[in-house]
């Protein structure tokens, strides 16, 4: 089943990448931030892939969980090994649509994005607003949204339950360029 899923996804990516209406980035920025009374935890990832089909407004984003860099090595280890189980679920994937993409003006605008976010093998519908900026050679998309850790079946041990927020802020910034 996993192989089939991977195959379908690869086909989807390849078919999109071949399209002339495709903008993409391989150095997309995604971060998450957890605030608690005990400590703040932040992790950054600069290796995200994001692909936009400018004809339909479809967007596919993939990030590797192992690419998230934490200030503390121990946090990074716990995140990968105990919480998101990166060996079992190496990627987070978002598949969705930028609504009314074709009607947007050629400058900065606020857009609505809806789609399915898959983390730790669990899917969750996400609806968020983002800033979309279009220039002649770049489509920039930036924004943030909140996710509940429990929605993704991520179990936090009771010892550190007060160290990690129940709701985590995810921020992103993608500078898409035309696919050649």
């Amino acid at each position: 089943m996993k192989t089939l899923y991977t195959l379908i996804f690869t086909l989807l990516i390849v078919s999109q990448v071949k399209s002339q209406d495709t903008f993409l980035t391989k150095t997309g920025y995604v971060s998450f931030f957890s605030h608690s009374l005990v400590e703040d935890i932040k992790a950054d990832n600069n290796q995200g892939v994001s692909i936009i089909n400018t004809k339909t407004g479809e967007i596919v984003i993939q990030v590797l969980m192992r690419s998230f860099m934490f200030e503390k090595a121990l946090m990074q280890e716990h995140f990968n090994e105990n919480y998101v189980e990166s060996d079992k679920y190496p990627k987070a994937i978002f598949k969705g649509n930028i609504l009314n993409f074709e009607k947007l003006p050629n400058e900065q605008s606020t857009v609505n994005i809806t789609g399915i976010l898959t983390v730790h093998g669990k899917e969750k519908k996400v609806e968020t607003k983002a800033i979309l900026q279009t220039t002649s050679d770049e489509i920039i998309l930036r924004g943030d949204f909140m996710v509940e850790v429990a929605d993704f079946d991520i179990k936090i041990p009771s010892v550190v339950i007060n160290n990690i927020a129940k709701v985590v802020k995810v921020s992103f910034e993608f500078h898409h360029v035309p696919y050649k």
Binding site: T6, I13, N46, Q47, L64, K72, L74, D87, K91
Partner: protein, 140 residues
């Protein structure tokens, strides 16, 4: 206070101090130093990409979070937020190996000659459209 009680108190305080030091050291343990750690596998870009294209699942289990060394002479150099990125690719490959370098490597990048054969070491984080490596350093 008897000397026996005093010894027990001093002993307990010492145990608490030792446990705290161990805890703090563990909490603050440093990230893996790519420069001084052992290399798990050495590859040409073609071979590494091939491993991922044959079976991404197996390759992920084998290489993710491992220190890999990549050697080659066909690459492009770009920058992101002031840090260098070396992308190993050529026309025959559908994929690349993208190496995000540590900030300290910028000077070495400036001294590279065109098509110079290079060796890069870094932590493999997996495969999206390309193999991704982070925390990379130039070895030679």
């Amino acid at each position: 206070m008897s000397s026996r009680k005093l010894k027990i108190i001093i002993g307990l305080v010492l145990i608490v101090i030792i446990i705290s030091i161990i805890g703090i050291n563990k909490y603050n343990k440093p990230h893996i130093d790519v420069r001084t750690s052992d290399v798990a596998f050495t590859f040409t870009p073609e071979k590494l990409i091939n491993e991922y294209q044959q079976d991404e699942g197996i390759a992920t289990k084998k290489f993710a979070n491992q220190i890999l060394q990549i050697e080659g002479d066909t690459y492009t150099i770009s920058t992101l937020n002031g840090n260098s990125i070396i992308t190993f690719n050529n026309e025959t490959l559908v994929s690349s190996v993208i190496c995000h370098l540590q900030p300290e490597e910028n000077n070495k990048i400036l001294n590279l000659k065109k098509d110079q054969y290079i060796t890069i070491r870094g932590i493999c984080t997996g495969y999206l459209l390309d193999v991704v490596m982070i925390e990379c350093v130039l070895v030679n």
